[in-house]
């Protein structure tokens, strides 16, 4: 069930109405049932994986809390990490690893074909998100930062809470669970704030991302037919497509949770206004970057180590964050580009004068966009084709930018500037009623009239 689907537009109001209608003590059950319906709508079989992850981590969490023997605690932690990473590796990287290993494996060809066809299953939606969320839970208990949830059903709700289940934000138990179990009252403020975020999310997903997508697809599918400028339009376009797609999804998720009185963490803070790679990662997919910081970078020693180890730590984190997105060399290169430029920026001291700000911004924007080229490309040769083209007289096709995308994009940029220094709801709360509703009118007009009609599910669902 996609957020931008008729099914969700029916499902969500029903859940909200029931949420406030039923007794507080049964809300967790309603949300759990809703979350499993939501997730099961992709494929019922996927529910078994999330249920397995839930059961094991619930058990591990309890054992970690009750046991004081360090050896036993390590064993339990390894069980949790092993299961979650095992699921991730098997479903996400199994086919990739098999393709690497099979050519040199001393087994007959028919057996190799059997293995390849066995591993050619659909990737369970959102597996990278919920496995990371539950691993965070067990690691936090291991570090004695939190106490485990005693109720299996309520823990299952933490793992599967539907607004953020399939593409984040990746939530911490300490932040999310008390809110899920709180007796949230029906307030106009929560409904209004949630609805505003959802509306803005629908706008940037359906009008911006879904209208850019066919243009980007055209360039990456046959790059040799396009000129240099058009190919770069495709690369820059993808940067905006993935931002609008993922930010739009996150806003809908955060808005949906807000309608129930739950505040999910902010996942984006106008990342394309960043003035360095470090700044970019403080603004882009914040829930993932902080996860890597807290559970990988810091345990590796963080910044309080010698320079060589620090460089290693930085590169490990960036390359792993690339790999997190999928089993392809292109994602590793994407992560490595970010890591390398991060290190270069940190090594070169550039004066932070105000007149240099536009240059820092432009430099960051171009590096990030260049890295997106690898993220989007099917493989490295596709990336090279998009980058270098064919240099022939036939490379003369151009992209026809639809007017609705141009105007929609102008509105999007204006809103981004408006929300740069404050949250969407803070800005809107300060805006006079008539102006605010005129704005809603324009946004709704664009969604109803100009939303893209090509079939492009949320990009991050595949991760």
């Amino acid at each position: 069930m996609l957020f931008n689907s008729v099914e969700f537009l029916v499902f969500f109001p029903i859940v909200i109405a029931l949420y406030y209608a039923i007794q507080y003590k049964w809300r967790w059950l309603l949300l759990l049932a809703a979350s499993y319906i939501f997730y099961g709508s992709w494929k019922v079989e996927f529910l078994s994986l999330i249920a397995l992850s839930t059961l094991v981590d619930f058990y591990v969490g309890k054992q970690l809390y009750e046991n004081t023997d360090p050896k036993k605690r390590w064993k339990y932690l390894l069980l949790s990490l092993g299961l979650n990473l095992g699921l991730l590796i098997f479903f996400k990287y199994g086919s990739f690893l098999a393709n690497l290993a099979l050519p040199i494996a001393p087994i007959p060809e028919w057996r190799k074909n059997q293995i390849v066809s066995f591993l050619a299953f659909d990737l369970p939606v959102g597996i990278s998100f919920y496995t990371f969320q539950t691993m965070g839970y067990t690691i936090d208990i291991f570090k004695n930062k939190i106490k485990p949830e005693k109720h299996l059903g309520k823990f299952a709700l933490y793992v599967s809470y539907f607004p953020q289940l399939v593409a984040g934000p990746i939530e911490r138990f300490k932040h999310l669970q008390p809110q899920l179990l709180a007796n949230n009252k029906l307030t106009y403020r929560n409904l209004c704030h949630g609805a505003r975020l959802m509306l803005y999310g629908f706008f940037i997903k359906m009008v911006i991302a879904d209208n850019i997508a066919p243009l980007v697809d055209a360039v990456f599918e046959s790059p040799l037919e396009y000129s240099l400028i058009t190919r770069w339009t495709g690369i820059l376009g993808f940067g905006w497509q993935i931002y609008a797609d993922f930010y739009g999804y996150s806003l809908i998720a955060i808005g949906a949770a807000r309608c129930m009185g739950v505040e999910l963490i902010t996942n984006f803070k106008t990342p394309y206004f960043a003035k360095s790679i470090q700044d970019f990662w403080r603004r882009w997919h914040i829930s993932l970057s902080t996860w890597f910081r807290d559970y990988i970078f810091v345990p590796l020693g963080g910044s309080n180590v010698n320079k060589v180890i620090w460089i290693r730590n930085i590169l490990v984190v960036f390359i792993l964050s690339g790999l997190w997105h999928g089993a392809n060399y292109t994602f590793i290169i994407w992560g490595a580009i970010h890591g390398l430029f991060y290190l270069i920026e940190r090594s070169i001291k550039v004066p932070n004068r105000s007149f240099l700000k536009p240059i820092h911004w432009l430099k960051t924007y171009l590096i990030v966009s260049f890295a997106w080229l690898f993220f989007r490309a099917e493989d490295i040769s596709n990336a090279m084709e998009v980058l270098f083209g064919a240099d022939s007289m036939y490379s003369n096709k151009y992209l026809d930018l639809p007017f609705e995308l141009v105007f929609g994009f102008i509105i999007f940029i204006m809103l981004e500037l408006l929300f740069k220094s404050d949250s969407v709801n803070s800005v809107l709360n300060r805006t006079p009623f008539a102006v605010r509703w005129s704005g809603y009118g324009v946004i709704i007009f664009f969604i109803l009239s100009f939303a893209g009609t090509t079939n492009h599910p949320f990009i991050y669902f595949q991760f």
Binding site: N4, V6, L9, L186, G441, I444, S449, A451, T453, N455
Partner: protein
């Protein structure tokens, strides 16, 4: 109470915005949207001055513009042999499921009739689960005669069946293994047929194209077939709109089907043609089925490595003459 009042007021405002949007969209943007993304409906809206509308897939136009002297469509060629004006509403891989939605848009008493291609291959599992099916389902949703904004939203919210390539393939394979054929084993299903004949297991071009013919034509059309229901609905629509209806059974490459597979396959194709005639041909109800199935010979088909309904100039002319003859005969 306060919250209900506040929400009520906002719902009212949203309703006003939606109504205003609908009016503005219909007045200023809908036609340009159709021109880009729903071209057949756009064309249909501009074609109601013709005598007949000609609903077809790619069989209408040429794929051999190098050898054809006259590259005209079948619909255009038809006008050379009759006095009626015919306008083409044709789109690649389109089938009766899409046509019926388009036909719903024809205003009553504006045209004399419609000509609809009866493509036997469009009933095959390969077409039902083809790579274009998601796109065709989108068109079907866009062309439904809903208020324009609802129609637009069904497209943008993807409120139509979307299946992954894997799902389509699984469905196709299920058809091949379960659809019964009126023969004894091993020809009782498509899967058994090709699994048990040695010639299909080799990997040469003859084996490949033979297999394609088998998968494209070895099936039996019956009352419950989804495409049959589409045609049933087209017949009803034509009746309700007082339109004369001509279904013309498209020529298939029977020479090649006979050469590659044999009479057991051509008999199935002929039986499916007979089903169409028996079910729909009813001149007293202004429905005519033209049987063109075996009128075009192998040399007039332009594709050699796949079964298609793509004809050269001669092939298209034969079809056009046949349709024109029927048009001339209609009083």
């Amino acid at each position: 109470m306060e919250i209900v009042k506040k929400i009520g007021l906002r719902i009212l405002l949203l309703a006003v915005i939606a109504i205003a949007t609908s009016a503005i969209y219909k007045r200023y943007f809908y036609q340009s949207f159709l021109e880009k993304e729903g071209f057949l409906l756009y064309r249909l809206n501009r074609s109601v001055n013709a005598d007949y509308l000609f609903f077809s897939a790619s069989s209408d136009y040429t794929f051999d513009s190098i050898n054809d002297i006259d590259t005209s469509r079948v619909s255009v060629l038809t006008m050379n042999y009759c006095t009626k004006s015919v306008k083409s509403i044709a789109g690649g891989a389109h089938h009766a499921g899409v046509f019926k939605q388009l036909i719903k848009h024809i205003p009553k008493n504006t045209i004399e009739g419609i000509i609809v291609s009866f493509n036997i291959r469009s009933f095959s599992p390969k077409w039902l689960t083809g790579i274009n099916e998601n796109l065709l389902q989108k068109y079907t949703a866009l062309y439904k005669p809903n208020p324009v904004l609802i129609s637009r939203l069904t497209g943008s919210l993807k409120f139509y069946p979307i299946r992954t390539q894997k799902e389509l393939e699984q469905e196709r394979n299920a058809y091949f293994s379960s659809w019964p054929l009126p023969y004894l084993f091993p020809k009782n299903t498509v899967k058994n047929w090709y699994s048990n004949e040695r010639r299909f297991s080799t990997n040469d071009s003859i084996a490949n194209i033979s297999l394609e013919y088998l998968k494209s034509f070895a099936f039996v059309i019956n009352d419950n077939h989804s495409r049959t229901k589409d045609f049933d609905e087209i017949v009803e629509l034509a009746k309700s709109k007082n339109l004369k209806l001509i279904l013309h059974v498209l020529p298939e490459n029977m020479d090649e089907a006979r050469r590659l597979i044999g009479d057991s396959l051509t008999a199935l194709i002929q039986a499916n043609r007979d089903f169409a005639i028996a079910r729909y041909h009813n001149p007293t109800a202004s429905v005519w089925v033209i049987d063109n199935l075996e009128k075009v010979r192998h040399v007039d088909f332009t594709d050699r490595d796949f079964p298609t309904e793509h004809y050269n100039q001669n092939g298209r002319t034969i079809i056009a003459k046949s349709i024109a003859k029927q048009l001339n005969a209609i009083k």
